[in-house]
């Protein structure tokens, strides 16, 4: 069961995501954004960072990368697709998740631990968690404020306090089928107590479990 961790120019969390997946028993490989085929993989993670410098809009340029057509194909086939932070922004820009991410309410970058609450356990990152469960993992973003005029998003996790002003306090959002999700805080930064928390394990373990159960919901 292999996960492709996609790297765009400006991505910076790819090694952390690979480290975390491997620490949890998964198998992952870094894939350059100019690759065109993800045939060898069972799932995809778009990691955090500043693809294309976050210029124009976060994720706006990255969504045209060659690899993105296969990401879309996998998403449509029901494979697990997870965007973390900048990856969440890309999935929204690509239309694979509803809404968009704008600047934090207080117009400042936020890097600290935040408390989240599991709202929906039928998604690729929450299936092993229980409803109402609290997880504490780091947030690290400037454009983390999720807005969705269509109000059609499925919220997987929400902030206990809403540090960035997100609509519906959403910290993680999934598509209808639950196989595509975006999360603004960083689960890979929350897998070891020596770094402050291991609450993020359940989220990445949910993702790894989803690879086994793929496709999550038959098309």
């Amino acid at each position: 069961m292999r996960t492709a961790v996609i790297v765009f120019p400006g991505t910076n969390c790819e090694h952390d995501v690979v480290y975390a997946l491997e620490a949890l028993g998964g198998e992952a490989e870094i894939v350059w954004h100019r690759e065109t085929s993800l045939d060898d993989f069972d799932g995809v993670i778009l990691p955090g960072g500043f693809a294309h410098g976050d210029y124009l809009r976060t994720g706006a340029i990255a969504r045209f990368s060659p690899v993105m057509s296969d990401v879309r194909r996998m998403a449509e086939n029901g494979a697990p697709v997870l965007g973390i932070c900048n990856g969440f922004q890309m999935l929204c820009e690509a239309g694979l998740l509803p809404g968009a991410l704008i600047a934090n309410r207080d117009l400042s970058f936020i890097c600290r631990f935040v408390d989240l609450e599991v709202v929906d356990t039928d998604t690729v990152i929450t299936r092993l968690a229980s409803e109402g469960e609290r997880v504490r993992i780091p947030l690290n973003s400037y454009e983390g404020n999720w807005v969705d005029p269509s109000a059609g998003g499925r919220v997987a996790l929400r902030y206990v306090d809403n540090p960035n002003g997100s609509q519906a306090r959403a910290a993680a959002v999934a598509n209808e089928r639950g196989n595509v999700a975006g999360i603004m805080p960083h689960p890979e930064r929350g897998i070891e107590d020596i770094l402050g928390s291991s609450d993020g394990q359940v989220l990445l373990e949910s993702f790894l479990q989803s690879l086994v159960d793929y496709p999550l919901v038959p098309a």
Binding site: P9, G10, N12, F109, C111, L195
Partner: protein, 719 residues
């Protein structure tokens, strides 16, 4: 060839003597491009002409030093085939002109110094000094600098894991922004800034060249430039962290594939420096075609191309057989390249532009033959008066003074700053901002690196030698309480106008202080930076050396001490020499409204050594260690209470005992009997418990001190 320039040298900030030296070297009058190159390379910033002879005093050797001062970054051996590269740099003047871009490009520059050595930059530290926050201009500067560091550091993908903020009137017209970077590399990946052998090709990588920051490193004026280029010359450089991120990854890939023989970053003095220094180091010459340089603007003159400080550029030296592979790597990372020249036998750097030779000078003369000045120095006459000033805070109620201290933006929480920085990237930050030294684990090993950066302009104003030595000891203790032993120092010497004998005296005393302390600890200085001319309207800043100290924890404590691990019933011990009642230069003196005065307590090398070793050992045993610095024991204990959410009682509340900042002392909090503390150094001073902090007969609610400490900086900033 174009016509020589004559007296234009003065407008480029050069003295007549310097001009004569150039004529002596060349045996003729210099051409405009040549003069431009000498003017930037021989500027104070690039040549260290006022400080160089004094910096020789630093101890620079130790068995673990791989590269000492002189290269782009110092490199030390940290065992198991790993090296660490470190460097500190100032961006004071650019940050005053434009705080966001000034600080941002400072981050970009220090990163290049480190990845030039073959290292992956793993962390940054920032030291910010501005005037008091009751002035809007200072609030604007602090906000701009912090967002510049955040904007660049976060986007370039290197965590900023610590730093310092200090406020003083002396920085009102002249803020200080220093940035330190640490990188790690495998031994075999070390790259030096050398041009290699004749035939080696010079490839310029990165951003297109524009008229950015021309003369950033020296004082430039018009004469040698055509008029129309004059008004197009922006002194502000704009940073592009995205370009730098690609540059880091591309360079690391080049090193991994062994495709380069040498690399030099383009910082101050741009191409002039990136050609002459590597050629000079190799004892060779070079031919450079300026027409090949890719640019952002049209109509650039040769002097402009040679002096531009456009950011995010690197020069790689490549053997011809590897050129195609180098270009392919750059292409993969979407980086522009230009093959700009070739290394030649003989000493000369030959530069051509528009088909003509515009400069032909001995490469090494630019880098090495800058005049070495011996500026006069004199002990300031005012020191005696300052030393004799009496300070006393004896009539102040200790709890009142403590509350004032916690409510001070320099002592209260720095969360407003460091929560704007990504300080967790790379999953290494075991102890991050908001404690003493930062502790970064090295995944896949048992080791961790610890770093502390410390400065204190007030202390160094009162006694630069003692003050500077105390900074080294403080930094050493900060890494020791994280479990590390001191390994190496980098320093940033921020001073006033070196043409004033008092400023030179301050510099010499500072160097002596740093050197003595490093010798006492047995650690070398492996790099640094000097920033002079920090003055406004003829008033110099306090002498403000900043020390960055790297320590190694091998092994890393399995559960490193943290301020937050104090629990009900634990004992509080103070370890170190008994404090005197000397409050010279202390935070207590400042917040009590007393004038800066007195002579700071001298550090003791033997005590320092012993205390540092003891702290590093204790870090494996006890739950809480905290060094005593700004605000003394009272503030140290309050910080532990706030972090742990529990109160404490301190028995003896004598102001001297509470607020002294006498050197090499630290606090231990532990269950009774957890560790044996040496009887001659350790005193039990109190106990953890309850929901208030009691100093003698005074008491403060935990919620009150917590709130004061949390709000200090945000409310001073009005955010």
């Amino acid at each position: 060839m174009t016509t020589p320039t004559g007296p234009a040298h003065q407008k480029l900030g050069m003295t007549d003597d310097e001009y004569e030296s150039i004529v002596g070297i060349l045996g003729r009058e210099p051409l405009p491009a040549e003069l431009a190159m000498y003017s930037v390379m021989w500027s104070e910033h690039c040549s260290y002409k006022s400080s160089r002879r004094h910096l020789e005093r630093f101890p620079t050797e130790a068995p673990w030093v791989v590269v000492g001062p002189g290269e782009n970054a110092g490199v030390v051996d940290i065992g198991d085939g790993w090296l660490a590269a470190l460097r500190i740099e100032s961006h004071n003047h650019p940050s005053f002109v434009e705080p966001y871009q000034g600080a941002a490009t400072g981050v970009g520059g220090i990163l290049r110094d480190v990845f030039t050595m073959g290292a992956r930059p793993i962390a940054l530290w920032d030291q910010i000094r501005v005037g008091p926050l009751d002035q809007p201009k200072n609030r604007y500067l602090l906000k701009g600098v912090v967002s510049g560091i955040a904007g660049y550091g976060n986007a370039v993908g290197v965590p900023t894991v610590g730093g310092e903020i200090e406020f003083d009137d002396c920085y009102s017209g002249n803020p200080l922004v220093n940035v330190m970077c640490l990188g790690i590399l495998r031994k075999e990946q070390l790259v030096l800034g050398t041009a290699g052998t004749p035939g080696t090709i010079a490839v310029l990588l990165g951003k297109a060249t524009g008229r950015d920051g021309i003369g950033g490193a020296s004082i430039l004026a018009s004469a040698s430039f055509e008029d129309e280029s004059e008004e197009k010359r922006p002194s502000v450089q704009v940073g592009d962290p995205f370009e730098e991120k690609k540059l880091i990854e591309a360079c690391l890939e080049l090193y991994e594939k062994s495709l380069v023989v040498g690399v030099q970053d383009l910082g101050a003095a741009g191409l002039s420096c990136a050609t002459s220094e590597p050629a000079g180091r190799a004892g060779l010459g070079m031919r450079i075609e300026l027409d090949a340089v890719h640019r952002r603007e049209s109509g650039m003159t040769a002097p402009e191309l040679l002096m531009s400080e456009s950011q995010e550029r690197m020069m790689a030296f490549v053997s011809p057989g590897n050129l195609d592979r180098v270009l392919a790597v750059a292409d993969k990372w979407e980086i522009e390249t230009a093959v700009v020249g070739e290394v030649k036998p003989g000493p000369n750097l030959t530069i051509r532009h528009n088909g003509r030779v515009v400069a032909e000078v001995p490469a090494a003369s630019l880098a090495n033959d800058a005049p070495l000045l011996d500026r006069p120095s004199a002990r300031p006459g005012w020191l005696d008066d300052v030393w004799s000033a009496q300070t006393s805070v004896n009539d102040v109620e200790p709890v009142d003074l403590l509350l004032k201290l916690l409510d001070d933006p320099a002592i209260g929480s720095s969360a407003w700053v460091h929560e704007q920085y990504d300080h967790m990237l790379f999953l290494s930050t075991v102890i991050g901002p908001g404690s003493d030294g930062s502790l970064l684990r090295m995944k896949g090993t048992d080791k961790a690196l610890a770093v502390s950066t410390d400065g204190n302009g007030r202390l160094c104003y009162l006694d630069p030698r003692r003050g500077a030595a105390r900074l080294v000891y403080e930094a050493a203790l900060n890494v020791a309480v994280a479990g590390a032993r001191p390994l190496a120092v980098v320093d940033n010497l921020n001073f006033g106008n070196p043409e004033k004998p008092e400023v030179m005296w301050q510099l010499i005393e500072t160097v002596e202080g740093i050197s003595g302390a490093c010798e006492a600890l047995g650690i070398p200085v492996v790099g640094g930076n000097v920033s002079f001319y920090n003055e406004t309207d003829g008033v110099d800043i306090h002498p403000t050396p900043v020390v960055g100290l790297l320590g190694l924890a091998d092994p890393m404590p399995s559960s490193p001490p943290r301020w937050s691990q104090a629990n009900e019933g634990m004992e509080i011990w103070e370890v170190g020499p008994e404090p005197t009642d000397n409050l010279a230069g202390s935070a207590a003196q400042r917040v009590a409204g007393e004038a800066l005065g007195g002579r700071p307590t001298a550090p003791s090398p033997e005590r320092a050594r012993r205390v540092v070793t003891l702290a590093a050992d204790l870090a494996h045993l006890v739950p809480v260690l905290h060094d005593i610095s700004d605000g003394g024991l009272a503030v140290a204990v309050a910080e532990i209470c706030i972090a742990s959410g529990v109160g404490a009682r301190i028995n003896n509340a004598e102001p001297a005992a509470m607020f002294s900042e006498d050197p090499h002392r630290f606090v231990v909090v532990m269950e009774s009997g957890t560790a044996d503390l040496p009887a001659d150094l350790a005193t039990r001073v109190g106990i953890i418990g309850g929901d208030s902090l009691s100093l003698g007969s005074g008491t403060l609610d935990l919620s009150i001190i917590t709130n004061a400490w949390r709000q200090a900086l945000p409310s001073a900033l009005g955010v």
